[in-house]
Symmetry: D2
Subunit: 80 residues, 4 copies
């Protein structure tokens, strides 16, 4: 009767983020994932890559074993 979920402390995009507006993105992930909302979190392309920026998650939606988050990029790390 338990519900499997995953506690996430950063956003790993794997390049699947979709830009909705200037600095707002939507990202779908498989499974039910718990993310902190309105708290600065690191954004990375993969779990082992460098941090590419910092985001604030504004919305989390769980449905049909999928988690959809909407986040605002609040800072970018230049990578040169």
């Amino acid at each position: 009767m338990g519900m499997p979920m995953e506690l996430n402390t950063m956003i790993v995009t794997k390049g699947n983020e979709v830009r909705e507006e200037e600095n707002r993105f939507v990202l779908q992930k498989e499974g039910y994932r718990l993310y902190p909302i309105d708290v600065p979190v690191a954004v990375q392309k993969t779990k082992d890559s460098e941090q590419s920026g910092t985001a604030l998650i504004k919305k989390v939606e769980w449905q049909q074993n999928t988690t959809t988050i909407t986040y605002t990029l609040v800072s970018l790390k230049s990578t040169n």
Copy 2:
């Protein structure tokens, strides 16, 4: 840096549920609340009232300090 939330194991409607379809309802609650999805949970009007039915939560959404759940009523307890 923490994010307040509440672990919920049943649905307490306080009469605020909105019927979307035959047996599907939408309910908004204040704050970020964690509910089990696709697991049978009790439905009650208040936290001290009798259980009025059993539901399956199909969708949970967190945004702007509000939790919106969509659930399907799978059984009703008659109360006569």
Copy 3:
């Protein structure tokens, strides 16, 4: 970087509970499981069996991919 966990809304003992005192029991489960503390939860032997009682979880411990809960049985359902 995520941490797998499971949201649990009842206690499924599978007969593995250990009595510590009169009505206090300790139960170990595999993995990290989130349980509500100080909230009445159903106790069942298996996930499909009848509810055998109601308990209050007083302590939850996570360590080495194991969850240990201490709970107090507050009511028993007779099964004759």
Copy 4:
């Protein structure tokens, strides 16, 4: 019937950590707090101070509205 908790993504010690061994510390916090286990998390003295190190949380215990974590400091940032 809900259980209030807080999702934490870093360790804020407020100087209350107790050293148990070489690089293992125990910290008590008020309330029920969810922390990721076995995942690198930032350690800070206050929520607004610089990150002082990185830790792996090895154990989380919830009891009597208190959360006790045991963590291993895996790296230190020098602050000169």
